[in-house]
Amino acid sequence: MSQDFRLDNVGMVNRNKKISFIFNGKKYSGYEGDTIASALIANGVHLVGRSFKYHRPRGFFGVGVDEPYAILQLERNNERDPNIRATEQEIFEGLEVKSVNCWPSVNFDIGAINNFLKMFFPAGFYYKTFMWPPSFWYKIYEPFIRMAAGFGEASIKHDKERYEHKYEYCDLLIAGSGPSGLASAYAAAKNGARVILAEDKPRYGGSLLTSDVNIGNQTGVEWSEKIITELKSMSNVIVKNRSQVFGYYDHNMLVMSERIGDHLPKTQKYLPKQRLWYIRAKEVLISSGSIERPLVFGNNDTPGVMLSSAAKEYMKVYGVLVGKKPLIFTNNDSGYETAIEFKKNGVSPLVLDTRKEPSSDIITEAKNLGIETKFSYVVVAAKGYKKVKSADIAKISDNKKDLSNIENIECDCICVSGFWTPSIHLASQSGNKSEFDEKIDAFIPKKSKQKENTIGSANGKFTLEETINEAFDKGYEVSNKITENNNKVSIPTVVEKKSTEHDKFWCVPLPKGKSYKRFLDFQNDVAVTDIELALREGFRSIEHVKRYTTLGMATDQGKTSNLNGLQLVSDIENKVVPQVGHTTFRPPYTPVSIGAIVGREVGKHSKPTRKSPMHEWHEKNNAVFVDAGVWLRPRYYKQGNETLFEASKREAKNVRKNVGVCDVTTLGKIDVKGPDAAEFLNRVYTNAWLKLPVGKARYGVMLREDGIVMDDGTTTRISENHYHMTTTTAQAANVLSHLEYYLQLVWPELNVNVVSTTEQWAGAAIAGPNSRALLMKLFPNTDVSNEGLPFMGYKEADLSGISAKIYRISFSGELAYEVNVESDFGNFMWEKIIEVGKEFQIQPYGTEALSTLRIEMGHVAGSELDGRTIPHDASLEGLVSKKKDFIGKRSLSRSAFTKPDREKIVGVVPLDKTTSIPEGSYIVKDPNAKLPNPKLGHVSASCWSVEYDNPFSLAIIKDGKKMIGQKLFAMSPLKNKTIPVEIVSSHYVDPEGKRVRA
């Protein structure tokens, strides 16, 4: 198709670079710098979608972020990207887009039947229609609504694009590069402030790109180009286009999304698609401009009806005519700018002005150019279904209530201007309560809550002279607060046409006997009648009216509809707009892709992965890894076709029979140093610590103040004032914070320092009956006999020239040692242990075997110390000192914690000795009891006992001690299993603890 609506030699697109793209399967061409909207309009295409509710044909209404209609789905790099605004997305070679919300096609849409059933789709119809019968909801109504609704489909594939986050600090962030943005940035930058200037569009200049003005003897375009070029060359300025500041958060934190690759055919390597900027600004100037308001009349949603400023921008920026027989419908002077632009390009428009006898420079100019103008005239209704073909126009009485002289005239587009609405979204998000300005019939920001100022038309200033003066002043004033350079630049003179007042008129009455739909919210199909109905039904608060009718919701957030909706509500209620108030503006101002919000933190990057120094060895030896907190730990080492179950059984058996080695680097380690270290530990742990000799380790339990077990581990006295504390892998960070809390805030008089040494030490647990023999070979110069290094003993030793620390502690319940060396030597130590251990049948074991070993020994871990248990529940009451006070002690005497039938840990064995009990199962007396079956407790951990070769579980059950020997049932409704079990002691293997002391 040829570009029949393209003007010669007008606009800013690159005529030397033709670009072809595909829309709904058909190929079109445009030029570099076109948006999808401008390129389609150049090709005469105005039907791009169907509306949300009635599936009415949809065209283009705006030219930027305010676009309510032209939402498309983009196919790029084989991925779907929904919710693309055709007015913002630039075209690139090979771009593919399609319409949404229509089936089978945009031209023939079956859903359009809704348009003829519209009496059945009033405001709140979802609430009214789909109420009964309730069982119909998820079977019939919801699938139907889901199919019918929505703007496109999200891709379910992994997004391969790259998104980045950036943190930036500046003195002054300026949102919007229109005249006020440019002027204030220039003034502030020249005064030495570090400035970030953000522009949402590809081109800088805002309204200067399309207005006929003169600044400092240059055209608006020339002046903005000059300023931008100079700003870009300054080292204290960052200028960003295609960048939307969409959110204003606490303490002057603003978030901006920069579209880096969205307009390119393919993302370049290492270049992100989008970048999210978190900007902490000392001061903010909001120069976000204003959006033209629609006028409300019959069928004002027909394709071809659009904002007059949009029509002007399509001509001036893109060199595209939105129609060849334009009708301009305005209540202010702005419509004339568009009319003049049409005339200059050889197209004769007809202007309908609702005002009676306005006079201003621009109206005179239009008259002089021979533009036909009718005063006190309105558009009653647009005619045509998929495109405007004509319009019914009428003379309107002075009181704006009665229509006369209705006639039909031919036209192919209707450009509307209902004056301007300042974009106060960012100011409002910052906490600024707006006020209604009756002069412009719109809200403007009032008193700043944060360090922000709104300038230019966003602040309701609609003359360029006022805007430029205010912006230069503000830019200087705000920057000078920070830099104190006192460097003030001179303000250029401005020449512009004087305009006159707008008409306080916005909605055309219906002619007698007609019931045209007059739309307020174009994206959500909210018409005048819907608001009237909502008010008749008793909705009063504007927030309720919004939610009931969906006015101002959806992706455009009512940028074009809000004020007209408020006007209607206030008219019907006989109130003024400020009494009605406006709904709350919330970020984001424009839709932001989820990818940009997530950034690089996807998949494995969502948190750092920590690996032990022996990780590579594990990988080479077929370890299968498991996430343990932020760590990756070997779960088991696979041999041949082994399953997890087989491998872990083999590994655990080998520990019980020979010797195994387990990587325990991940255990939390904290150095506790200082003259009061013993006293501190004595307060932190439940058991006594004052008399622990140097060179000895002790197992300790620490509580929270509420009496719940926080963590357990061994702590070793390395020297008089130096202790080496270990924590569980999961609680390491919390324990450190906990210790710091007490040292810094509660007992600052204690002379103790704590520091994490988790990463400084690599650890290997050597466990099994052969472990001592192995150690003797590993450390030939050290006495590791039972006398030389008894249970809970500690020694420093020499491992082939490297300094090592040996702790005789055991989690597996076997004779065991933990050897620590500095992290850098971790792999050396590990390989040495494996090499020397060969003759003792050493095998590495993973976390699964480790669990098996500790469960059948009855040693508690995270699944028992789950934030609900006190020492008694985990059979740790022997470690609770009666003599001294410690953190959480007072809680242990509370009545719930001293009940005689308090829960206690027990062992559970299935009667058939073969059925494994699912973790989380309930222990009950009678499996056939009436539901909910009274629960005695739950199974916390299960394993296959390698000692007895049958399943074994730990459970925490009411009055556990008394239950030993009883036959009960383990029920897992989730797995639909009921297993008869016997309750035994939790110490299933070696209850006397002989092995660890052997």
């Binding site: 943190y167 303490h251 934190m253 001294k884 006070d885």
Partner: protein, 89 residues
Amino acid sequence: MLYIFCPHCGSRSQNEFAYGGDATVKRPELNKEISDQEWDNFVYLRKSPRGKHLELWHHISGCRQWIKVERDTSTHEIFKTYKATELIE
């Protein structure tokens, strides 16, 4: 996101800190006999005022110091920050 002045490090973004609750709570002294009610108040009961609130923040990704922050809970305005042991008038 709040911007918190750490008396040890300077102004830092909220994501370097962990919240620690009411800073005016005082732990009962060790080895002191106290009633269930008093202990209960210390462990569980906290005020949640609208307006000025003295609270603890832990500069967990910075200097690891616990600090006290006087903040307005409705506007997030931060009036002053203190070191852990600094006397607050």
